[in-house]
């Protein structure tokens, strides 16, 4: 692997690329503006390879659509690596100069022939060969992926599989190439950069490194814990037992986390919960104190986007009633808890404190962004212009290492009782817990309630017609939704969005996760779909469950 979880290249570079390999990303719906760049590249003659179980919009304009079975990405990626090696298409110079451990890939892909992968993925061996050849032999080729890669019990292996392809073909450290995870939230990059992580202080300095700990103890004037913390997935698994108290800012864990019923049971055992948000969400039912916060239009600060660009958020209007900016609330809460948080004059002073503690952000300040616009980290000094393309002179830390990986099936596969594979995701019109978009007229008119996309033959077999109400059940729960008989689906697979509290798709999802990151398998679980009889609305039916 190489470097931190961020796009190696910049969004505007996409228009100039010659090949896009989009895998596990429904870009037109989840990142519409990046999709516009992809459409532009396509119009300019770039090739487009899409790997997705659904016939998503991008697959309609793709040169090659690999309609894989959900959860079989590793088989596809190792077979592509097999083709590249056996047809001698790898970049030996790059491998020798910038990488180590190529033997591990040689070893682990010896048997992963396209014919073997065809059995597992459902994609023809010929298409796998074609994809591998195109990707390896095109000069400017970028990989673009999102949660369709990571939200699996083998999510880490999926990422390794992609990184191996990037490294063996030398598509790194060059314009319009690279390995590009498209980040899901406005500031998920910035939250990690700022150290909202159980294992990293700000700037990816390790909690387990004693020197880093001493550095931050001195900066903050307090003793710090030497132990790695729990990540969110582990916290959610130990609610009520390991987790006795929670402070939650701006997240609806009841709607967003997998296996809702287990989350709710866990929350009943939590002794104290503080919730800081702009609306009452589903988690508010369990809160002891609720602190009203300002939304993005009512405060100052920075968001860091997918291509590591630190940009300003500016206050446009006053918050409603007594609501206050989150940063002010946190400072006051810290003081009420007996910790002397400095009296910052504004977010610019908070950012200055953060930047002074981290090499990659040291050259960034509110003042500079004000004058120059967004800045892409690493930006180590005030006269540094920022870094649009990472790894321009070889991978960040020494040599990038290949990882040998092997295909493992997803944890919950369809069987007689639960014969369909459910994947979940986001739609164009709504956003995650949808507290914002469900209060907007367009999204409400386009998608008022939960639905399940299904292949026509799967529907017919169950006596279900387009628009019927159905009951979708997994081993963990049941929800009611409207059927959308869709030409986008593979047979045997169904798909649901995650935006609707009254029909919460996460009652179905599997909270079993990846062994390294514990990221839950939102993209694969086994369900059954049955018709609902009688006059009942989606909301009513779900409430009766």
């Amino acid at each position: 692997m190489f470097g931190a979880g961020a796009m190696t290249n910049s969004i505007p570079e996409i228009r100039d690329t010659e090949l896009m390999f989009v895998i596990g990303s429904n870009t037109t719906e989840a990142h519409p503006i990046i999709a516009m760049e992809m459409k532009r590249a396509k119009r300019r003659g770039a090739k487009l390879i899409v790997a997705d179980p659904r016939k998503i919009w991008l697959s309609e304009i793709a040169d090659l659509h690999l309609q894989i079975r959900p959860g079989t990405d590793v088989a596809l990626l190792t077979a592509m690596a097999h083709v590249i090696v056996t047809e001698d298409l790898h970049d030996k110079e790059f491998i020798a100069a910038h990488t180590e451990g190529f033997e591990a890939v040689l070893e682990s892909t010896r048997e992963t022939t396209p014919e073997w992968a065809e059995e597992i993925t459902g994609v023809s061996a010929e298409d796998i060969r074609l994809a591998a050849r195109w990707y390896a032999t095109t000069e400017l080729a970028g990989i673009y992926y999102t949660l369709g890669i990571t939200e699996h019990s083998h999510g880490t292996d999926n990422v390794y599989g992609l990184a191996n392809l990037v490294l063996m073909t030398g598509h790194l450290g060059k314009y319009a190439c690279g390995m590009n995870p498209l980040r899901g939230q406005n500031n998920v990059q910035g939250a990690n950069d700022a150290g909202a992580s159980p294992v990293f202080y700000p700037g990816y300095q390790r909690v387990s490194d004693p020197a880093a700990r001493r550095y931050f103890e001195e900066a903050w004037g307090a003793p710090l814990s030497p132990d790695d913390g729990m990540n969110l997935n582990v916290m959610m698994k130990t609610l009520g037992e390991g987790m006795k108290g929670l402070y939650i800012m701006g997240e609806d864990i009841v709607l967003s986390e997998p296996n809702t019923t287990a989350i709710e049971e866990g929350l009943n055992g939590v002794e104290f919960l503080v919730l800081q948000d702009i609306f009452l969400n589903e988690t508010a039912r369990f809160a002891d104190v609720i602190l009203p916060a300002a939304c993005f239009a009512e405060k100052d600060g920075v968001f860091t986007n997918s291509d590591r660009r630190v940009q300003r958020v500016r206050k446009a209007v006053a918050p409603p009633g007594e609501a206050r900016a989150d940063w002010e609330i946190i400072c006051d809460l810290a003081r009420a808890c007996g910790y002397e948080m400095p009296h910052y004059e504004g977010p610019h002073e908070v950012y200055a404190e953060l930047a002074a503690l981290c090499d990659q952000f040291r050259g960034i300040s509110h003042e500079r962004i004000e004058a120059e616009g967004g800045l892409q980290w690493p930006c180590p000094s005030e006269d540094h212009p920022g870094t649009p393309t990472l790894h321009g002179d070889g991978p960040i830390k020494g040599k990038a290492s290949f990882q040998g990986i092997a295909y493992r099936p997803s944890l919950e596969l369809p069987d007689e009782d639960y014969p369909l594979v459910l994947s979940t995701g986001r739609t164009l019109y709504h956003y995650n817990a949808a507290t914002q978009t469900r209060r907007s007229s367009g999204p409400l008119a386009k998608q008022p309630h939960n639905f399940v996309e299904m292949h026509r033959r799967d529907a017919r077999k169950r006596g279900i017609a387009d628009g019927d109400l159905v009951q979708v059940s997994s081993r963990r729960g049941t929800v009611v939704a409207t059927v959308n008989v869709s030409p986008r689906m593979r047979r045997g697979c169904v798909w649901m969005p995650l935006h609707f509290p009254e029909s919460n798709t996460n009652r179905l999802t599997n909270d079993a996760g990846d062994p390294v990151t514990q990221t839950a398998e939102f993209k694969v679980c086994a369900v059954r779909v049955e018709p609902v009889r009688g006059p009942v609305s989606v909301g009513e039916a779900s409430r009766q469950q």
């Binding site: 913390g229 206050k315 007229s441």
Partner: protein, 352 residues
Amino acid sequence: MKVTLNGQVVDAREGDTLLDVCRREGLDVPTLCQDDRVDPMGSCRMCLVEVEGQRRLLPSCALPAEDGQVVLTESEKVKRHRAVLLSMYLSDHELDQDGLPTERGTGNKLREHVLTHGTGPKLPPIEAPRQYRVDANPYVHFDPEACVLCNLCVRYCDEVEAVAAITLAGRGAGTTIATADNRDLMDTSCELCGGCIAVCPTGAMTEKAALGSDWREEEVVRTTCNFCGVGCQLDLHVKDDRVVRATSPEPGTTVNDGNLCVKGRFATEFIHHEDRLTQPLVRGEDGQLHPASWEAALEVAARGLLGVKERHGADRLGFISSSRCTGEENYLVQKLARAAFGTNNCHQCAAT
């Protein structure tokens, strides 16, 4: 390549149009139907220039620059053409009491051109037999009387957003922008990105919510969109402490290149929604949430969290920060967890 522009010899690059060269040299050649994000169409005839050796004026937006070209952008012939063309536009456009094109949306380029370049003889108004249709979609308002048929909205919808929901329809003076079968926009392939509004040079396409709002009275605040991770720059237009509309900055200036999606451009209703939390709430003995002062609520919150730490240890506390909040706020939450409470149990939804 060298091009002679108004007597000055200037450099041109491979792939340049004459308009590209003019703009690089700081010449203000007027346009209506041109946008770098779509292929040139040359339909509005505003950008016509005189090229030596050519009998007719030619559209600079669609004409490739060639070595040795001699070009005039401000000759008498060009000026006369512009004035007559603008008169023709005025004869089929809604005018205000001063006889100027009505201002709408965030401005009217036709009006600016008339003010800058003047008009020729006044022509009798055209009674155009256009079809009116009230569209039920919540966001996009279209007024055919202010449309100059530059076709930018149709081309943007086809080439940039690539959904081709709208089209030119009708013939002659009755030509207008429509959907297939005159369906409501909501029943077409439209994804409500609002790009048609952003590219419209005259304000014929505008935000329904901002109809009647005078854009000169709006304060514009540049910020970053709060939805996905693309980091689109967004101009919030504010009037009376309320966000009345959101627009995209000029193409070519920010990461989103003038584009926005349905959420960024239109999903701002939540900001002023009546469901917003406006005061701290504390759960009482009765199990219900009750309004409280900030001081009291923070006191209860601090006591509750410290109590858990005392009873079970700091590592039984979890701090869930938010990838929706700012970098500064995330920094402060992890500092709260680590420095104030002594635990590294701090994370946010990047866990997936």
